[in-house]
Amino acid sequence: MNITSHLQKISFENRIPLYSIFELTYRCNLKCLHCYIPPQKKYKQEITTSVVKKIINEIASLGGLYLVFTGGEPLLRKDIFELVEYAKKKNFVVILFTNGSLMNKNSVENLAVSGVDSVEISIYGREHIHNKFVQRQVFNNVIESIYLLKQYRIDVCLKTLLTKLNYTEFEFIKNLARNLNIRLKVDFVVTPRNDGSVDVLRYTLDENRIYKFLSNQGVRLTYDRNFKNVMGENFLCSAGFNLVCVSPVGDVYPCIQLPYKLGNVKKKSFVNIWRNNDFIAKVKNFEKYHRCSKCRHIFYCSRCIGLCYIESGSLYGCSYTVLKLSQIWRRITSN
């Protein structure tokens, strides 16, 4: 077993929050069509700089090592550079997810000084497609940001989501990443909004196209195609075991994709929430996965408990997207 798998295994078994995701704000300057955050009329009070720092300390004390700052758009938080710098001082690997539209020389310089390890930027295609997707004229700013980050020797990674609206842009995106000599992560999973609304699923690429991308075009997914295939520990994902997410208002979730609230840091310490919640016992109650245990796709399913929970309302349910992907993997494997 290599060191990465070993660390994954021991952190999972010992419930160490190796990976943490901080959604620092739900505010955003863009209006991406597929965004999982429901549009809000009024934003609730975000947790303060000192609260975020306190949580960072607690996660470090539990063994956390990788930390993501995301949003909304995290660069809308005035304390973003301070928080990155703080997490670096606490010896984390710090990754920033951004839409890339708000950066300028000054902010990139601040990021370089803060010591951020990597910046991941979302891109959806050429100028007119990207701008249509995010509903703002920002494509040129995004490209400029990528160049600036490279100029300051900050590691950049491009991310894309291929949907009905932009799958024809894949070649462009692939070439952009290749020409700039940066990594590219590709995904097909459109997530229902956090409030359970599934209107966004209409953008999901149809099955045959996803099949083609995965089987012929050598597209690799950003997440591990980790088939669960047997009912038991293998059936579980990282959520709540070695992965945790903190929302802008201090709610703690097992994963950014799983709005099952474990507690709120304004009421209890992070350590207390992490150690004392009912999530682990619930998801380990394997007898309750009635549908999965009878499912003919179980051998090909890399079940995302978050998607299943949002779509079915139950930790033991299924999801349209998960089912669809399982069917696709089944096709690929049997061919």
Binding site: I3, T4, H6, L7, I10, S11, N14, I16, L18, A60, G63, G64, L65, Y66, K88, N91, F92, V93, V94, G115, D117, S118, D155
Partner: protein, 87 residues
């Protein structure tokens, strides 16, 4: 006497008794063995080479010569891998 500090950008954590170090610039993850972990802790608490050798002698009940050889070897390796640097 030479002291050492973590090289900029290096992340690390003690997890279940072992030190894991991430060198994200080179996409590398290192795991330290027991002796290296002991030395790592000494380095980061600001001890110089002599002090670390002394600590290793006490902890592992070894002769100073052997301790010095091992400490130098491990610290050199950490420097060569870009994890720590001399202050």
């Amino acid at each position: 006497m030479t002291k050492y500090k973590l090289k900029r950008g290096i992340a690390y954590r003690e997890i279940a008794g072992n030190i894991y170090i991430v060198d994200s610039k080179n996409s590398l993850l290192h795991q330290l063995n027991e002796t290296a972990t002991f030395i790592w802790r000494c380095l980061l608490s600001g001890k110089n080479l002599e002090e670390i050798v002394h600590k290793v002698c006490l902890e592992y009940d070894v002769e100073p010569e052997i301790a010095r050889h091992d400490v130098e070897e491990i610290v050199t390796e950490m420097i060569n891998k870009g994890l720590v640097e001399e202050i």
